[in-house]
Symmetry: C2
Subunit: 197 residues, 2 copies
């Protein structure tokens, strides 16, 4: 089998010159947002085993920064968990959609802010053990209020918080959304707060 | 329909006295690690819609702290992404398994360290938009080397890094695993580094 072109050289160690080979064997379940692919993996014992991967189109999340430094968050009802979650606004990518355009769209729809400036802070995989969802993080600034446009099925309330308040929400468990914790962590590293800490 | 007992009062706003009601309608796909449930959601327009949720048994991740303050990480080959990922050790919960026991087990198996002390740092949902996976975070200290026991299908290399090196890996994108970024962020907030920063 040919070497896998998707292997990322940065995180690949010389100790594993031959990484496990993966052969796609097809979609076995399809839903509206995700689908499941069964893949054949040739393990280091030489045996071939079938494993299932949840495939996802990818998503974006946005950290909206107001002029006074406060950040805009939402309380979002998640039918998956039957509870309200504190989060940054986010959404999955539509087919063929530019991620930055998606970020600006979700920001407007969910929080009612239009951003004159938006920049990518990179991204991360939400749960690479069984799923390929990649979450892109954006920082939005120069915000102007616009009407929200919540979709049917979205139950959202908007609020703002200081960075210190968000840190406290991570520590006490009020903020339990992995996407928002990871995005905020990267934002804090890239843009350290200039005031006291 | 009865009020949902699973709603978390902490993050629930008074503005949404009547949150969307959810009726389970059954498992429609089963895999080894996860399964998919189709649920009926009654939206605020009064209509009932079907949505699919990936159900997951939950997982644990461990931040192992060596006596000199360095943390133990792994490079892990993910068949889902066909690439190596920098991560903290982790694993899904087996049926009926105590999460803290699972954390100690994964730590030993994947990194070759036995911990005399382990403590919970809470947890978070990896991707609550479509999946209910809850990731529990542990901090492990008083580490003693033991043999690793990598399972077939696990391709893992162990290394250590300082906190500053991990922050740099988050910033430059070497660390792209959401679980590890969120776990490290909470660890840093709970246990601020005492030395220079």
């Amino acid at each position: 089998m040919d070497p896998d072109p998707q292997v990322d050289a940065r995180s690949r160690s010389g100790a594993f010159a031959s990484s496990p080979t993966v052969a796609k064997t097809g979609v076995i379940f399809e839903s509206r947002v995700f689908w499941v692919e069964r893949v054949e993996v040739c393990d280091r014992d030489g045996a071939t085993r079938l494993r299932d991967v949840v495939r996802h189109p990818g998503a974006v999340t946005v950290i909206p920064v107001l002029a006074d430094g406060r950040l805009v968050l939402i309380r979002n009802h998640r039918f998956t968990l039957r509870r309200w979650m504190v989060e940054f606004c986010a959404g999955k990518l539509e087919a063929g959609e530019d991620p930055q355009e998606a970020a600006l769209r979700e920001l407007e729809e969910e929080t009612g802010y239009r951003a004159a400036n938006i920049e990518s802070l990179g991204g991360y995989y939400t749960s690479p053990g069984f799923c390929d969802e990649f979450m892109r993080i954006y920082r939005a600034t120069d915000l102007t209020p616009v009407p929200t446009r919540h979709e049917i099925g979205e139950e959202i309330e908007i609020f703002t918080a200081t960075r210190e308040e968000i840190r406290a929400m991570i520590v006490d468990g009020t903020l339990e959304d992995g996407k928002s914790i990871a995005a905020f962590a990267k934002f804090e590293l890239l843009f350290p707060e200039v005031t006291k800490r």
